[in-house]
């Protein structure tokens, strides 16, 4: 799991300012906010817009276009299961069903909010000859079986 700072507008302004001079600064800024706080609250939108001299609509548009920019507080643990074709050919559909049962939730691109665990899809980690693959709290895992998945979950969620 990751240690994120609690949201604070003052800290957010620091993070934003650190990247504001870059060409096309908005993407690096949103990434940096997610790295710092685990998410980008709506409150951040006017702060970014002000510093970059963009409209709030511009910032909102970018924030909501990309899957990676979480708009709710990050859960303690994030399990991303690959749903793409190469993993499908190696049994990812069955593994996904197993994971949904094990974690008691449906796989969901929007995540599961502030909870303990969130089960989310990811489309390809580029480990395509040794699927099914997952990214669990940022660490890659290959050749997953239901048993291996359960073992990893037991280590992750204590």
């Amino acid at each position: 799991m990751s240690d994120y700072s609690a949201w604070s507008p003052e800290k957010a302004v620091e993070v934003i300012a650190a990247h504001a001079d870059k060409e096309g600064a908005l993407m690096p800024i949103l990434h940096a906010l997610v790295e710092t706080f685990g998410w980008v609250p709506d409150e951040a939108v006017p702060l970014i817009a002000g510093i970059l001299n963009l409209s709030r609509a511009d910032v909102h548009g970018v924030l909501t276009f990309y899957h990676d920019f979480r708009r709710h507080p990050a859960p303690r643990h994030v399990v991303k299961l690959c749903q793409a074709e190469a993993c499908q050919s190696r049994g990812s559909r069955a593994l996904t069903e197993h994971a949904e049962q094990r974690l008691g939730m449906k796989i969901d691109a929007h995540g599961h909010g502030r909870g303990e665990v969130s089960l989310e899809p990811i489309y390809c980690l580029g480990l395509c000859a040794s699927g099914p693959n997952a990214l669990i709290d940022g660490r890659p895992h290959a050749r997953l079986t239901p048993a291996r998945f359960d073992a990893l979950m037991a280590e992750t969620v204590r």
């Binding site: 060409e23 096309g24 600064a25 908005l26 993407m27 690096p28 949103l30 990434h31 970059l52 511009d58 548009g61 970018v62 276009f65 990309y66 899957h67 990676d68 920019f69 793409a84 074709e85 190469a86 993993c87 499908q88 050919s89 190696r90 691109a109 990811i122 489309y123 390809c124 980690l125 580029g126 480990l127 395509c128 000859a129 040794s130 699927g131 693959n133 990214l135 940022g138 660490r139 890659p140 895992h141 290959a142 050749r143």
Partner: protein, 519 residues
């Protein structure tokens, strides 16, 4: 001198336990008071033997694999550090048929060197391309790349030399080199392997591109699903600046070139070049209409060379060895080598670089060894989520841009994803539409609406509802998407859908296709 032990540090090997293997090896060596130096090389590219541990011996490097963390203790006890025989010993990795039969130009160093060692890079032929490029000068570099026959490895296959020439001929003080490392296609990982396993090669290729067209800055746009590649490129760029490959006076010349890493944010469509440029500018990844071409108005409206990782990574070889050395490989208008990625349900999955012309059947059955599950091959998707599904009846198709197009398919980024006979091709067709609906940027109607309607129509077909009418409808919809979409996402999603329907009609409730074998 300490013993060199190689344990790959690439994302795939780490996903298979390479970090734990390296850690246990260090502990076991310490217990024996041995000094070993563990080198985290890239993967050589055969994932059925990863993690592959290699020991440097007087006789060359001896490989053991796959070595999982729980194997290490026994392996060390059996004499691993002396290169002793063992059931997991594969001998010299380069002697394995999978590697021996390859022609590695772009992947010559991958798995052999320490990816972050600039000295290793130079000792294994790095920087020669830049040196010759500096002798030739901009105009001759462009000509060399044009003559090599190199075509865009991202999938479109557009001649790289023409792209460079177009940018070189524009005037104006600011131009950019953009490397498309948004390798989102399932079944592809060659870009990732270049960045993790030989990052200086890509940097050298970008620097040469900059000198050739008069650009002094470049970006490599890497997808966020590749955290190891992001870290490797960032580290390598810092080293490249220290060693004079980047910065003021590249390679001691009068040319300046520097670059930076930018990270995507989970949008597949950003692999489309104009969408990627929008994203780099800090905008939504909406596809741009062409013209204007990026070569004229690209990043921030400036002339821009935008090339795939594999295109740019091929450049140092072409410059170092001469255009003819590269051009003499291949067939027809597909020159040079293609790093083919064997993926999915395949026994010998991995990276196989070979000249164009090898047939799909050879790739899947001979080199790939058939399915990993041991069941018969049913379908092979070539070129990622937007590529066609090929049945074994079309396995005589040679790897060549034109030959694949003639069979209503595409090479794309040369990912080959194998499915065994448990695959349900209606489900695969539905997934193609579903994926397009999730990832559509929303700018054009055929893609945004068509993909959602496509999922609905395929669901009706699956439920047996007005089957024939709906099959006619899905064909019509595919035509609309193919010819009416702004970019390849909507335009190519019909490839997997229509190929599934054409070659596997029985999964859609139609009679089984007859002929085929004759093709």
């Amino acid at each position: 001198m300490s013993l060199h032990v190689y344990v790959p540090g690439d994302m795939n090997s780490v996903a298979l336990g390479a970090d734990e293997v390296a850690g246990t090896l260090a502990i076991e060596a310490a217990k024996r008071s041995m000094t070993i130096e563990i080198v985290r090389n890239g993967s050589r590219g055969l994932f059925s033997i990863e993690p592959l541990v290699e020991i440097e011996t007087a006789n060359g490097r001896i490989g053991y694999g796959p070595v999982f963390p729980e194997d290490v203790k026994a392996l060390v006890a059996a004499g691993l550090f002396d290169g002793a025989p063992h059931a997991l010993c594969v001998g010299k990795p380069e002697e394995l048929p999978f590697f021996k039969s390859q022609t590695r130009l772009t992947f010559a160093r991958n798995g052999i060197t320490d990816p972050q060692s600039f000295d290793d890079y130079v000792a294994h032929g790095g920087m020669k391309g830049l040196a010759r490029a500096l002798e030739l000068g901009p105009k001759a570099i462009v000509e060399e790349v044009f003559q090599s026959g190199l075509r865009g490895r991202g999938g479109a296959g557009f001649p790289t030399g023409i792209k460079w020439k177009t940018v070189a001929e524009t005037t104006g003080p600011t131009k950019y080199i953009v490397c498309n490392a948004d390798e989102g296609d399932s079944g592809t990982f060659a870009d990732r392997m270049v960045m993790e396993g030989d990052p200086f090669q890509l940097i050298e290729g970008m620097a040469i591109a900059g000198i050739a067209v008069g650009a002094t800055f470049g970006y490599v746009y890497i997808r966020s699903e590749y955290p190891f590649a992001v870290a490797a490129m960032r580290d390598a760029i810092v080293t490249a600046r220290k060693r004079g490959l980047l910065g003021k006076g590249v390679g001691g010349s009068a040319y300046d070139f520097d670059m930076d890493v930018r990270v995507g944010a989970g949008a597949y469509v950003c692999g489309e070049e104009t969408s990627l440029l929008e994203s780099l500018e800090g905008k939504r990844g909406l596809v741009r209409a062409k013209p204007p071409l990026p070569a004229h108005k690209g990043l921030f409206g400036k002339p821009t060379v935008i090339n795939n990782v594999l295109s740019l990574a091929a450049v140092p070889y072409i410059l170092a060895e001469g255009f003819d050395a590269y051009r003499d490989y291949g067939m027809g208008r597909s020159r040079g080598t293609m790093p083919i990625q064997l993926a999915g349900n395949i026994k010998n999955g991995g990276l196989y670089e070979t000249p164009f012309g090898v047939t799909l059947g050879e790739i899947v059955n001979v080199i790939g060894g058939g399915t990993d599950s041991g069941r018969p091959v049913r379908a092979v998707q070539v070129g990622g989520p937007l590529g066609a599904y090929f049945p074994p009846a079309l396995f005589d198709t040679p790897f060549d841009y034109e030959a694949f197009a003639a069979k209503d398919g595409l090479i794309g980024h040369a990912g080959v994803t194998v499915f065994d006979d448990t695959a349900d091709m209606l489900k695969q067709a539905r997934f193609a539409m579903e994926f397009c609906a999730v990832e559509s940027c929303g700018k054009c109607t055929p893609c945004r609406i068509g993909s959602t309607r496509g999922v609905e129509v395929l669901d009706k077909i699956a439920a047996g509802e007005d089957r024939e009418d709906n099959l006619v409808l899905i064909e019509d919809l595919c035509n609309t998407m193919k010819f009416g979409s702004l970019c390849a996402l909507g335009g190519f999603t019909p490839y997997p859908v229509m190929s599934a329907l054409t070659h596997f009609p029985e999964d859609f409730g139609r009679p089984k296709a007859r002929l085929e074998a004759a093709e």
